[in-house]
């Protein structure tokens, strides 16, 4: 048998001519397949086809399972099943029979069996395993045809896990004397390499042997593997460059047997494959590139024959030449080649030329100039694909000067496009361009319009994009657009104009027919109107409300859009009319089935009635300050813990609920998936063991914030938003002309006539011969399209293969005025506490603060006399100080900071001796301890009151110094201290009732109720020997941190305490990133500044503990999450966690 086959293979050519009646004819048209095909062909309706196929499949099914069916019949049935499947009717019952046929059939029957398997099954189908044995057997067969068949199916599909079982057999075939077997073995190995590269790692040398095989077919097969491997790692195969080059040389030189020719071109597909490999090897590698210059030149020369296939080779050559290290004469030839392509009257060639041009333009944008007129013609080509490819090309050569025209062309195409896929793609590109190019560019004329990307252009372009895209748009486009609008640009005035323009244009749109506007667009409109319609003076909120209400009433409006509209109304419901509209609308939606809508309606109702709350919740221009989204919904924790305490089951995220439900095998609640209570109650009360378990509540919050992300404008994410759109004014038209002329001149590639045209169109030189009208128009278009391309600096190319360009790039932004202002503002807000803290830590305040201190202290001193002259007894300065304290605009207490401040300011020098003196009066037991700076409290005639607080381990001691600067003694001094928040107990009083120099009073303080800062109010009264009794009031403020001490607990204790505490708060803090591990660094700062105890740090989590004097613990749980520090504080004391969070934030901000 095998002898016969061997003979067959060797004698193929002769057989071809001798065999006058091949088997092909045996299948007559009267066969059952023939009948089926005829039947199908004659049918006219889909319904009839269905009926016929189902009948057919039923009959096939019956026959295949009958034991009497012969293999010959089985083969015939299989072909019919293949046909049925190719018509889209599944014939899965026949799969197993296909495998059986491959196993039991012979010759063509077996082949059909294998064929059916490869058509029916996919790589992962389980039935494929049943084929392994058959393949194994056939690979070992002496019948070469069977070996061939087995190798063919293996190279089409094979279960990955079973490769080792047959790999040795396939490898063995690499040495087979017959080329066809060797070739198929290489292809099988290629398949193995594709699905499991590791499995064939060890036989790479055999691939090399295959590459050097004396048979061109085997060599060709090995190129598939090499192309793949070189794509993955070009470096590893540079040494083979010379081999590939010499193979290509031989092929091009016609050294292959004549039957490899296709239309007299030697092995064209092989040539293409080789050129692709070379371009991968030569990319960014001059030395390797040099090896291939000659053969590429040869290929270019040989491929001059006028046939499609030679053009296909040329195209590959051109691409290669522009990919590898450039060589000028080759580039020139390639450029000429592209020229021939694009100018060809043959449409297929023109297309290929454009495609090549699109590719090479990334390397050499000037080439676009050479062919600009052709490109213009292609833009208006009746064939859409040519147009599309041209747009693709233009997309890659956009710069600030031509973006408007190119975008216009793209929009033109979009308007005609009916295909969703194209629309989505193009919309994305237009949006990218519109937002990428700032408006600070040149004006130019085209068709008597002045085109410049400015505000109006941007908004109008985006309007068109939104209206054209339908609802198929990628959702990031409207999102980014809104971010862009809200973030604003460099100039506040421009921002206002842009927003105003958007508002005006949207109002006009809403007043017209809204039926065709896509939902995405309506959402954008709603948001913008809600946020910015107040910018328009002539636009009344009532008008906008009315428009939004109209939108809500429309049936086609989706509920998501409605919630955007409701949100916008919430921002706008001002005045009586507004409130009444709001009430009316919220009435309608408050009972909506859609929970999001219902929530929005609720919000609208409540906020419209409480304008103060509304102003706080939805502040205007809130966009200046980054919003911190509390994604953990920590503000609900109290509610949750109450509910938990009342016996509610802890929250479980939906997936966990589903899992548990399916495990419990209870009735599926799928249809009621949305109703939370049911599934909640069905959950068991899970054990409450650790913070991590409880933190599941954040799963819930995650979900709900997601919803609000979609629905609410206030939750827009601002992090990572890049902005690009800006405006710095336009260059005058004159300049543009000059630039154009300049630009054209240095271009060497351009023919003189073209140059004249372009220059002419710009400068309108009178020497220009008049051209017919349409021609001129084209030239104008050309000049606007290719503007600035040859000036290297302004060229902006968008790499095709490069990473996807980021939509919305941020402009290089210095200290923009707005953010600078915010910073300053926040600085001043924190100021009071900063100074207090600085005092507390005995650190000299930093330079900015001192400078301000200087100013205010000078003011302070200048005001002193006034205060003193006010003889009503109470100290005015005090009042003023507290006042300014509240305002936070000037530093209240640090003005006269004493000894520790090294500032040589003269005003402070006055106080310095005093500071020295006072500190020396500190009681001995307090002198070594950490204390705050001594601050003046008030001054009364001859009496100065100062105070400081001293940190002791178990208490805080307030020390009040009363200094008598006069000679006469002061009598009957009475000092009363009082505080809502503090318990004050007197520790010791200066024994002397008469104070001559300094009297010291000590008080021990305990916190009654935590607050961020605790304040003491005091009254001092005294008598001087001659005169009336005097009283003065003062106040003293301490930060809560003064009362915080580390709490040493073990992790276990921490765990038990954690569960016992009911008051908690959560927040995200910023991590400190200064080189070392951020978590550790951050915790260290907090530990030092706030006096905390670090219990344990594990991975990204850390737990800390502290106590508020005396014994009120607070536990802190820190977790690094997405670059932020999620903090969770728990304490039995109400308000304590909140206050501590505040100080944590402060501490990190100051760091």
């Amino acid at each position: 048998m095998s002898d016969v086959v061997e003979k067959t293979l060797t004698a193929l050519p002769s057989l071809l001519s001798l065999d006058s009646q091949p088997g092909a004819a045996k299948l007559s048209s009267t066969s059952k397949l023939g009948n089926l095909i005829r039947g199908i062909t004659e049918l006219t309706s889909k319904h009839e086809e269905e009926k016929l196929i189902h009948r057919e499949l039923a009959s096939i099914k019956e026959q295949v399972s009958s034991p009497n069916t012969s293999m010959r019949q089985m083969k015939e049935l299989m072909v019919r099943a293949i046909y049925c499947e190719s018509l889209g009717y599944e014939a899965s019952f026949s799969y197993i029979h296909a495998i059986k046929l491959a196993q039991q059939g012979t010759g063509l029957e077996k082949r059909v069996g294998y064929l059916a398997v490869s058509l029916f099954l996919n790589e992962n189908h389980e039935l494929l395993l049943l084929l392994v044995n058959t393949v194994l057997k056939d690979l070992q067969s002496t019948n070469l045809i069977e070996v061939c068949m087995a190798l063919t199916v293996v190279s089409q599909m094979f279960p990955k896990d079973m490769i080792p079982a047959i790999l040795p057999l396939v490898e063995e075939k690499l040495n087979h004397p017959k080329e066809i077997i060797r070739r198929k073995a290489v292809l099988a190995l290629y398949k193995f390499y594709l699905i499991a590269p590791n499995q064939v790692q060890h036989i790479h040398n055999k691939f090399r042997k295959a590459l050097c095989d004396k048979d061109p077919g085997v060599m060709t097969a090995s190129l598939h593997i090499y192309l793949q491997m070189i794509q993955e790692n070009a470096e590893g195969y540079k040494d083979l460059t010379a081999s590939f080059v010499s193979i290509l040389k031989q092929v091009v030189g016609g050294k292959l047997p004549i039957d490899f020719n296709y239309h007299s071109v030697p092995a064209p597909w092989l040539q293409i494959q080789l050129i692709r490999i070379l371009s991968l090897l030569g990319k960014n590698d001059q030395r390797t590139s040099e090896i291939m210059y000659e053969v590429l030149d040869e290929s270019l020369r040989r491929a001059e024959m006028n046939h499609n296939i030679t053009y296909a080779i040329l195209y590959e050559c051109v691409k290669c030449i522009y990919t590898i290290h450039p060589k000028s004469d080759l580039l020139e030839k390639a450029a000429k080649c592209i020229g021939n392509f694009v100018l060809s009257p043959k449409i297929n060639l023109k297309y290929l030329g454009l495609k090549a041009l699109t590719y090479v333009i990334q390397q050499d944008p000037k080439l676009a100039l050479q062919h600009q007129m052709t490109i213009i013609e292609c833009l208006d080509h009746p064939d859409l694909i040519i147009k599309r490819e041209t747009l693709e090309l233009l997309f890659r050569i956009t710069n600030t000067q031509n973006v408007v025209v190119i975008v216009e062309k793209m929009l033109e195409f979009l308007r005609m496009s009916t295909d969703d896929y194209t629309t989505i793609d193009l919309v994305g590109k237009v949006a990218e361009l519109a937002e990428k190019y700032p408006s600070d560019c040149v004006c130019f004329s085209y068709k008597n319009y002045t085109y410049a990307p400015d505000n109006e252009w941007f908004i109008e372009t985006m309007n068109t994009v939104f209206s054209l895209s339908g609802d198929t748009m990628q959702p990031d486009i409207p999102n980014s657009f809104l971010k862009l609008l809200s973030e604003g640009f460099e100039s506040v005035e421009e921002d206002r104009k842009l927003r105003l323009f958007a508002v005006d244009s949207y109002v006009t749109l809403l007043k017209g027919e809204t039926g065709k506007l896509p939902q995405f667009f309506l959402q954008v409109i709603s948001w913008v109107l809600g946020e910015y319609s107040h910018l328009s003076e002539e636009l009344k909120p009532a008008t906008v409300l009315e428009l939004l209400q109209k939108l809500l009433d429309r049936k086609q409006t989706s509920s998501e859009t409605k919630s955007w509209a409701l949100m916008a109304m919430t921002k706008l419901c001002e005045g009586r009319a507004g409130v009444s509209v709001a009430q009316q609308v919220s009435e309608t939606y408050i009972s909506s089935m859609d929970t999001v809508l219902r929530q929005r309606a609720q919000e609208l109702q409540h906020l419209s009635q409480d304008s103060e709350l509304r102003a706080r919740v939805l502040p205007r221009d809130a966009d200046l300050e980054p919003l911190e989204v509390d994604s953990s919904l920590s503000f609900l924790d109290g509610f949750v813990s109450e509910a938990l305490a009342a016996g509610a089951a802890p929250y479980k995220p939906p997936h966990q609920r589903q899992e548990e439900l399916s495990q419990a095998k209870v009735l599926s609640l799928e249809p009621y998936g949305l109703s939370l209570p049911i599934s909640m109650s069905s959950c068991s009360i899970a054990d409450r063991q650790s913070p991590t378990l409880l933190s599941m509540s954040s799963g819930l919050s995650g979900d709900s914030t997601d919803l609000s992300h979609k629905g609410g404008s206030t939750t827009l994410k601002f992090e990572g938003v890049k902005r690009v759109w800006g405006k710095e004014g336009y260059l005058a038209q004159k300049e543009s002309v000059e630039e154009a002329v300049q630009v054209e001149a240095p271009s060497p590639l351009r023919s003189t006539s073209q140059q004249a045209e372009v220059v002419g169109s710009h400068s309108q030189t009178p020497t220009l011969t008049p051209t017919p009208e349409p021609e001129q128009e084209k030239q104008q278009l050309a000049s606007s399209l290719f503007f600035g391309i040859s000036s290297q600096s302004s060229v902006c190319l968008m790499g095709k293969s490069g990473p996807t360009p980021q939509r919305f790039r941020r402009k290089a932004k210095g200290q923009s005025s707005s953010s600078g202002a915010t910073e300053q503002m926040s600085n001043s807000v924190v100021f009071t506490s900063t100074t207090v803290d600085n005092l507390l830590c005995n650190n000299p305040p930093d330079s900015t603060i001192t400078s301000e201190v200087d100013v205010s202290s000078s003011k302070h001193t200048s005001e002193l006399p006034q205060g003193l002259t006010a003889a009503n007894g109470t100290c005015d300065i005090e009042a003023e100080l507290t006042d300014s304290d509240l305002k936070g605009s000037s530093p209240p207490l640090s003005g006269d900071n004493g000894l520790e401040n090294a500032d040589p300011d003269p005003h402070e020098n006055l106080d310095k001796p005093q500071g020295v003196c006072l500190s020396s009066h500190l009681p001995a037991e307090l002198s070594g301890l950490c204390r705050s700076e001594i601050t003046p409290l008030c001054t009364l005639q001859n009496l100065d009151l100062s105070a400081c607080h001293v940190h002791r381990e178990d208490t805080i001691v307030l020390v009040v110094f009363i200094t008598n600067s006069s000679d006469s003694a002061v009598q009957h001094i009475r000092l009363d201290l009082d505080s809502e928040l503090l318990e004050v107990s007197c520790v010791s009083e200066s024994p002397a009732k008469d104070v001559r120099s300094v009297a010291v009073y000590l008080y021990s303080l305990t916190v009654r109720r935590p607050a961020v800062h605790v304040e003491l109010a005091g009254t001092v009264s005294y008598q001087v020997p001659v005169g009336t009794p005097q009283t003065a009031q003062f106040s003293y403020k301490l930060p809560l941190t003064a009362f915080i001490r580390p709490l040493t607990v073990s992790t276990e204790e921490y765990g038990t305490m954690w569960l016992a505490f009911s008051h908690d708060t959560k927040q995200n803090l910023t991590l400190i990133n200064d080189g070392q591990e951020p978590l550790v660094a951050t915790l260290n700062v907090l530990r030092k500044k706030l006096q905390l105890h670090v219990v344990e740090v594990i991975g990204v989590e850390g737990i800390l503990a502290c106590k508020l004097l005396q014994d009120q613990p607070c536990l802190m749980h820190f977790r690094v999450h997405e670059g932020a520090l999620a903090v969770w504080l728990r304490s039995p004391v109400p308000d304590l966690p909140d206050c501590l969070i505040y100080h944590c934030q402060r501490a990190l901000q100051e760091h």
Binding site: V4, V5, T8, L9, L12, L15, L16, D19, S20, P22, A24, A25, L27, S29, S31, L33, I37, K75, M78, V79, I82, S86, L87, G88, E90, T106, G107, L108, L115, S118, I145, T152, S155, Q156, R183, Y190, L194, G217, D259, Y262, S264, P268, W269, L270, I272, Q273, N308, I309, Y311, A312, I313, Y315, I347, N348, L349, L352, P382, D383, I386, Y421
Partner: protein, 176 residues
């Protein structure tokens, strides 16, 4: 890379389909219908390449039969365009004797140049009858295609080598 090869007639009926990327059987019919509509709507003077969603279609018409190849956009369309023709020439080489019983095709039995090749191909597919001849030998067309394209790559274009296994099989069948 080649994603699929389709043979469809002018009525939009699929004659042969081969996918090199996984597409569910149930989705194929819809895809094929779209592809056919896409190609049928094209005019003669238009480009032989057209986009359908993310697939670039390269198609050639032979009388009533369209051969459509779906490729990725990194593929060299013109080489695929010629590959289709090579495939048709191979089919012609194999089936020419089958249809040679038809007197019209008698003289074009031995193609020698490019011109006559085209002629033959047109003849092969000129009538519904010859289209059906291809259909009646569906499995053989598949075998030929499998020799030429595997895993979306062109693996053999040498006509005699493409046909060798099939001829051997036929020979074997005749011998047994």
């Amino acid at each position: 890379m080649i994603k699929f090869v389709l043979m469809v007639n002018r009525q939009g009926q699929t004659r042969l389909s081969r996918y090199y990327e996984r597409v569910e059987v149930t989705r194929r019919a819809a895809l094929e219908a779209d592809v056919v509509r896409c190609c049928l709507s094209r005019k003669k003077e238009q480009c032989s390449f057209v986009d359908h969603r993310d697939v670039r279609l390269v198609y050639r018409q032979y009388a009533a039969l369209y051969i459509v190849v779906g490729v990725t956009d990194t593929e060299n369309e013109l080489s695929i365009y010629e590959l289709i023709h090579n495939f048709v020439e191979v089919l012609d080489k194999y089936f020419s004797r089958v249809v040679s019983s038809d007197p019209i095709n008698q003289p074009t039995n031995q193609p020698t140049s490019h011109q006559s090749c085209v002629c033959v191909c047109v003849c092969v597919f000129v009538s519904l009858q010859s289209e059906l001849d291809i259909m009646f030998n569906l499995e053989r067309v598949h075998v030929i295609l499998d020799e030429m394209i595997q895993n979306g790559h062109v693996v053999e274009t040498n006509k005699s080598r493409v046909l060798a296994p099939l001829h051997a099989l036929t020979k074997m069948a005749d011998a047994s």
